[in-house]
């Protein structure tokens, strides 16, 4: 009918009518029945309804809070509250039921008129679902600490003498001063924040912040030699969790339990005391501050401070590289090499023709030949002007006369005749030998007395003989100036440049190398400041930044004079340039390896974490404290108190309420994780010599303390000795190459003397591993062959050769002991340590035992060298993954605002896992609606610790890399 799809006018009219009625209802309330007594009764009844509804709302809030439905049951009754927020659904059901009961008490009389108020009975699932839909609740009032309740279609009935005279409905709205919704929302937020991961505001992030402070403090103490075998222990995780939970209570609930704070402080002091007494080195203040106990600011930003990473031994290897590859020698040659070429200038003076081509008459040509005659004589000629950087080394002026004689034989009637024509050309020819010397590797600068012998550095010949050599090659060997001039006149003289190398001073190479040794010292000290935390995740790439730093400082390092003091000086700078290129190239190769290691870390971390998330966790952990929820509200402060049971979550006991697990990724026994990260750079199943040596030392220590044999120790010692021998062998080979020592036996003796300062196998191995053997070895050489090393430069170079030899030996497979003996010895010494603790120290105090254990096991090396190649080691990192779970058996939040009642005022919101029942069908017994689920949580984080190189590194060395609290398996 209405094919234009317009809205019929009648429909608009209906809307106006309905809207108009609504306007009237909201302006004037309820239509009066037109009878003064009835009017008064209705007015008073609706007024009384307000008080009744307010009381119903407050009491419904109390009942709902006492056992809040958080999880709906899977029963038909449970469907009533199966909404995004089941608690609000439950509260609406209760409000309806309470309101219905209380409105029924209203009975306003005025003479024979009675007004009563009612809501329909709702005693089935479907009726309750409809009833619930009539109730709306929302937070209201200041800070949302009150509740607005609206109920649709409340009916007021007026009777006169028992007969109904009118029945009207209205939508009743009251604001009830019950904070129940605010409390529920705060507890819900608390629970949600408890389960937040490390990247979101909440427990994960707060836990990260606390654990970073503890792990860095203890990690540095361990590195510094304190007897710590377990850097991140369960007790620390437990304490950090409890502290973080309390802080979270304050932030989300507005308050926390004073008794919980006392318990936490007590626990923190106890942990600090244990750590301090056990000699853990971290002083009590630090330990307490780490848990925010004593009000001392914790060094929560230890990881953001920087670590200085230097070029270090890369300066040595790059120098050895450029010396051995001949790159420096090539640079020397290049410095003394110039380009030389010829240049000509030809000016025509005269051209003439003479003679007769053909006799007169009918002669025929029989034969013809051409004769050329060239004569060259000295004479004036313009010389070519050099362009660009070319300059004239020698020049010749010639006059070239060329004659071209054409002789023709003619024949006529057996007669012959000969004619000649002569073409003559005279040119003035200037020939110049031009020279050009380029800077090549060195920066372009003028060279003092470049062509003069006997001046400048090394009194060098400079390029003095280059002129002679150039003239010899380009002029003399090509036939001399006259021939060249003739060819130039002909236009077929090659002017292509040729290289001409001048003779070099004999001391040039040595002089340049001495200079490089000085430069090496400066390059070695080039360093960059890297944020320590970023190193651990391989996020920062120190070699890359070092390469950039060297490039940045290049001109300072080259230290080029504004004018070279001769060619030798320029050669020296060229050598510097070559060397710096090598340093940068080596650093860039290391930077590539570093990037590979970040990929390796990704693999090692598995699916749970990536290096990127590690970085983000570290960076986002700093908690910005949000505003605490305010306690002011409608009708006075909300007056919230919190009570958890247990007050402080417990790791131990019959039913632990907190369970933790912390996994240390890189720990001894060395194995998969370290291999995955650094790759099988040196072949699988090998460890660094210093790692094996330190393990051997720890095993020796246990044996001497206990008198017990540590199994596999001998095997490890053998392995360490083999590796040390390989290093010694490499040192002897270096001595031979450098021409030191008269025989193999002699060199063997020299090396042995160098190592004699260290008596034990482990001591010698460590001396080799950290390079401290080089200096005594040099002394031994100088003592035995006082003339072998007679200049500081030679000594410096020999030291360089020895250091480089050490590095390459330590990086070779033979210089790295087998992994299995190291791991087996570590396990064995732990076993002995455990057994002996009881026996040998049975009567010692707990602290003394812990100290003993820390001393023995803390000496075992741990952690991942960030760059594993000897000489490049600038940091040791380790990663801990921490998981926590917790549950309050009962968690109560109470507000003391409200009218006094026999059973106490206010609202108590209690989450204890109890079942919530509601009498759906009105038979007097409750149907299961859902559960007041307990407040529980599960979250995790990851901590990265980075310490400087050397020492024992950082990590859990007590053999319990995967540490779980008592309740972990069951919670």
């Amino acid at each position: 009918m209405n094919d234009r799809a317009r809205v019929p006018f009648a429909l608009v009219g209906v809307l106006l009518l309905v809207g108009g009625a609504g306007v009237n209802a909201s302006l004037g309330g309820i239509d009066p029945p037109g009878d003064p007594a009835a009017e008064r009764a209705v007015e008073q009844a609706t007024a009384a309804a307000r008080t009744a509804l307010e009381g119903a709302a407050v009491d419904a809030g109390r009942t709902a809070a006492a056992a809040p439905v958080v999880d709906p049951a899977t029963s038909p009754a449970g469907r009533l509250v199966d909404e995004p927020d089941p608690f609000r659904a439950y509260l609406r059901l209760l409000v309806y039921r309470y309101a219905r009961q209380r409105l029924s008490t209203i009975d306003e009389r005025d003479g024979a008129v009675r007004a009563t108020v009612s809501l329909p009975r709702a005693e089935s699932v479907s009726a309750l679902a409809r009833a619930k839909d009539r109730v709306r609740i929302a937070r209201a009032g200041p800070n949302g600490t009150a509740m607005r309740v609206s109920i649709e279609n409340v009916t007021v009935t007026v009777r006169r003498d028992g007969k109904v005279v009118s029945r009207q409905s209205w939508n009743a709205t009251v604001i009830a001063s019950t904070p129940v919704l605010a409390v529920h929302d705060r507890v819900s937020k608390f629970e949600q924040r408890l389960n937040a991961g490390p990247l979101d505001p909440g427990l994960g992030r707060r836990l990260t912040a606390r654990l970073y402070a503890v792990a860095w403090a203890r990690g540095y103490a361990q590195y510094g030699g304190s007897p710590i075998a377990n850097v991140v222990a369960t007790r620390h995780v437990g304490l950090a969790t409890n502290g973080a939970v309390l802080a979270l209570q304050r932030r989300t609930l507005g308050t926390s339990e004073p008794t919980a704070h006392r318990a936490m402080r007590q626990e923190a002091l106890e942990v600090a005391r244990r750590d301090v007494l056990a000699g853990a080195g971290v002083d009590g203040r630090l330990a307490r501050s780490a848990f925010g106990v004593a009000g001392v600011a914790a060094d929560a930003a230890a990881d953001t401070r920087t670590l200085s990473v230097g070029v270090g031994a890369t300066a040595d290897t790059a120098l050895a590289d450029v010396l051995d590859s001949g790159a420096v020698a090539d640079a020397m040659v290049a410095a003394y090499t110039a380009d030389a070429r010829l240049a000509t200038r030809v000016e025509r003076v005269e051209t003439s023709r003479a003679g007769t081509r053909k006799p007169t008459g009918a002669w025929s040509l029989v034969d013809s030949r051409v004769e050329r005659h060239t004569s060259v004589r000295a004479g004036d000629a313009p010389l070519p002007a050099p362009t660009g950087r070319w300059h004239t080394l020698d020049a010749y002026s010639r006059v070239v006369e060329r004659k071209r004689v054409t002789v023709r034989e003619w024949e006529r009637d057996n007669r012959t005749a000969t004619t000649r024509t002569v073409r003559r050309r005279v040119d003035r020819v200037g020939v110049a030998v031009l020279g050009r010397h380029r800077a090549r590797r060195a920066p372009a600068r003028p060279v003092q007395d470049v062509h003069r012998n006997g001046t400048g550095a090394l009194d060098g010949p400079n390029l003095a003989d280059v002129r002679r050599r150039a003239v010899a090659a380009l002029v003399t060997e090509e036939g001399g100036p006259d021939a060249l001039a003739a060819r130039a006149a002909e236009g077929d003289l090659s002017t292509a440049p040729q290289s001409v190398t001048g003779s070099r001073p004999s001391g040039l190479h040595g002089w340049a190398v001495s200079d490089l040794a000085v430069l090496r010292d400066r390059v070695q000290n080039v360093s960059v400041d890297v944020e320590r935390g970023a190193i651990g995740t391989f996020a920062a790439n120190p070699p890359e930044r070092l390469a950039a730093a060297v490039e940045r400082q290049r001109s300072t390092l080259l230290n080029t004079p504004s004018r070279y003091a001769g060619v030798a000086d320029r050669a020296r700078i060229a050598a510097r340039s070559v060397y710096l290129d090598a340093v940068v190239a080596t650093l860039e190769a290391r930077a590539d390896a570093h990037r590979d290691r970040r990929t390796g870390l990704t693999d090692a971390l598995g699916d749970d974490w990536t290096p990127e998330t590690l970085d983000r966790v570290r960076q986002t952990r700093h908690v910005t404290e949000s505003r605490r929820p305010t306690t002011g509200g409608l009708g006075g402060p909300v007056g919230v108190t919190v009570r958890g049971d247990p007050t402080s979550l417990e790791l131990t006991g019959n039913a632990p309420s907190l369970a933790t697990r912390n996994v240390n990724y890189v720990t001894v026994p060395y194995g998969d994780v370290a291999d995955t990260i650094v790759g099988s750079l040196f072949g699988p199943r090998r460890v660094r010599l210093d790692t094996a040596a330190r393990t051997l030392r720890a095993a020796n220590d246990v044996e001497s303390r206990t008198g017990e044999d540590v199994e596999h120790r001998a095997e490890l010692q053998q392995s360490v000795r083999y590796a040390t021998s390989a290093v010694k062998e490499r040192l002897r080979a270096t001595l031979r190459r450098e021409g030191i020592g008269t025989s193999a036996r002699d060199r063997r003796r020299l090396v042995a003397v160098g190592f004699s300062r260290w008596e034990t196998t482990s001591g010698q191995a460590l001396a080799a591993a950290n390079g401290s053997v080089v200096s005594p070895l040099l002394e031994a050489i100088e003592t035995r062959y006082p003339t072998a090393v007679d200049t500081p430069r030679e000594r410096e170079l020999l030291a360089l050769r020895l250091r480089v030899a050490l590095q390459s030996a330590l990086a070779s497979a033979r210089g790295r002991p087998q992994q299995p003996p190291t791991n087996r010895t570590t396990s064995a010494l732990r076993g002995v340590a455990r057994e002996q603790l009881a026996a040998a120290l049975g009567n010692a105090s707990d602290a003394a035992r812990k100290r003993w254990r820390g001393e023995v096991l803390g000496a075992v090396p741990a952690g991942l060298p960030v760059a594993p190649v000897p000489g490049q080691w600038y940091a040791t990192a380790n990663v801990w993954r921490v998981d926590v779970r917790g549950e309050y058996e009962r968690f109560a939040v109470r507000s003391r605002r409200g009218v006094p009642r026999p059973d106490g005022a206010g609202v108590a919101y209690v989450r204890d896992g109890s079942t919530v029942r509601f009498d759906v069908d009105g038979d007097g017994s409750g149907e299961r609606l859902g559960h007041a689920r307990r407040v529980s949580f599960e979250t995790r984080t990851v901590v990265v610790v980075v310490v400087p190189p050397g020492g024992r590194g950082v990590g859990d060395t007590d053999g319990n890399a995967d540490e779980r609290s008592a309740g972990w398996g069951t919670m």
Binding site: M1, N2, P8, F9, A10, V12, G13, V14, L16, L17, G19, G20, A21, V23, N24, G28, D31, E39, R40, E43, Q44, A47, A48, R50, T51, A52, E54, G55, A56, V58, T63, A66, A67, Q101, R102, S104, T105, D107, E108, A146, A176, S177, L634, G635, G636, P637, G639, T641, R894, R896, R897, G898, V899, P900, R901, P902, D903, G904, A905, A908
Partner: protein, 285 residues
Amino acid sequence: MRAVSTVLDVALFLLLVGGAVAAVTAPVPDAEPDVPERWAGETATVLTTSTATVSYRLVPTADMADGSPEFDRHAHGTLARLIAAGALGGLAVDGTRVTRTREAYRDAVGRATRNATGAPGREVRVVAVWTPYRDANIEGRQVVGPTPPDGATVHSVTVRVPSGFPSTSDEANATAREAGYAGVARIAARATVDGLFPPNTTRLALRDDHPLDALVRHRYRRLGRLLGIDVDPKPTAVEQTNDRLEDRLTDRFEPRLRARFDSPTDAAQALSVGEVRVTVQVWTR
């Protein structure tokens, strides 16, 4: 066809617009003249509709340390609801008060009520009474304002405010026929005890921190003593404790109901556990 429908449409529209105009402009009752006969009703409406905030302090009993911030409280609600709670706070058995811990509250509510109801030229007295049935010997009462002088013309109105206790009317009427006075007494007793000590929230209170647990325990013990029994309330045995109190109350209620009412049904009609009657009396000064 379209022409016809358009005419109909417009006609219907105009008709409905007329209805809408009528609905908007329908007369709203004019303010009534200010006559003393209306004062009581007006004052009652003030009590049931205007809200107040009262700050109060629970009065500790002799054996309680009173340093806890828990004693300092605030309440907000309609005056009728506040005064009803005041009446319940004045609960007495045979004229002896159960506790006096809510005296400060009752004083604060009295002040708030006087402030809200006072007007020039008139005196107001508000009496709020809770009692399980008419003429019971257990009663809670709060009175605000002076007693009317002899000879004054007093206008009064009574408003029933829910007490928050379970309502009994339906159940009592049914029981009266089957179980007589004893049945009615049992229902009144059960509703009274459940209203005074609702098991769920009472259990929570008994488990709560000092002084909440002590206050509830004190109230239990005092009521028990006034009814002639010793009670030792425990969070795990709230129902049992309530049952004992209920038995005692039933024994007390039954003879009195029998003596006062002609039939069990009359007695059932007279139960008023679920309400507090707030009576407003107004007279000219």
